[in-house]
């Protein structure tokens, strides 16, 4: 009888350690999955909101920023200097697209480059206290603002 006790005790120890290690592996796998999901979400947020903000700030010229009706939601048209071309940014089939084409062209993902995953894109104009137009961007449910410095006459 006494000979069985050490074996049972050792088996119990092994079982507990095995269970602990398996639990650690399970938790580690879940944590890694959540880390990759979080990283993907951060990248999507940077690639949509921050990208559109930066593009508008880089194209801020008189009559250079327009809001149009896109394939899914709103679309942004940014004039490329005086070249007659414009950059169209819009949402289609769950992705955010950027298309450089002659002004007035139709939306075509064949001629566009996919930027990031985007379920929805909404653009709305607001006005600041100084009279400057402010574009409110809503992408994937998150909001961001970008103000246009160009445009209206400022008087002293």
């Amino acid at each position: 009888m006494k000979q069985k006790d050490p074996a049972l005790g050792a088996l119990a120890l092994y079982a507990m350690l095995t269970a602990a290690l398996l639990l650690l592996a399970f938790l580690g796998a879940n944590l890694y999955a959540s880390l990759t999901d979080g990283r993907a979400q951060d990248e999507t947020r940077r690639a949509t909101l921050a990208y559109i903000q930066s593009r508008v700030m880089a194209a801020d010229a008189a009559q250079g920023v327009r809001v149009l009706d896109g394939p899914e939601g709103d679309a942004l048209a940014l004039a490329v200097d005086d070249s007659g071309y414009e950059v169209l940014i819009y949402c289609d089939a769950g992705r955010l697209w950027e298309q450089t084409s002659p002004a007035g062209s139709d939306f075509s993902t064949d001629a566009a480059q996919a930027i990031a995953d985007c379920d929805s894109l909404a653009l709305a104009w607001k006005t600041g206290a100084t009279g400057a137009p402010v574009l409110e961007i809503t992408a994937n449910g998150a909001n961001a603002l970008v103000a246009l410095r160009s445009g209206e006459e400022q008087a002293a």
Partner: protein, 153 residues
Amino acid sequence: MNEQRVKSSFSFYLQILILLAVFLSVGVVLVQVFAAARGMSRAARAETDGTTLCRSAAEAFGASGTAEATAALLGGTADGETATCYYDAAIRAAAPDSAWTYRVTVNVSEEETAAGTIAAAHIEAYAADGTVCASLDTETYLPGTKGGTAYAA
């Protein structure tokens, strides 16, 4: 015979204990690595969201010039020269008494120039636990009278 059995049990348990010690110590180290990774990921998320919020606040300030007008554009409140706005985890505007995730403050100061005023803003984004996620400094020029209210559209 009994002595041999005792020695055999002792060496068996010794092997088990050494094995347990090795694997437990490795497990402890790995748990610490996991915890550090999780902390770093949360900090990255807070920094990304905080930077986006600070940027929006800076743009709102650029189009407003005052704390009150900035708060109105962002959907927050103003108290003197400070505008405060609250946001949820999806960086949408939230009520102050709700379970907000981020708080953004815009502190405005002004400096008069020859033909107008330069309004400067120090913007900070805080997480719910009070830590600073991101900060930003920006300026906007307001031509004309102090406070920038005399504008012609």
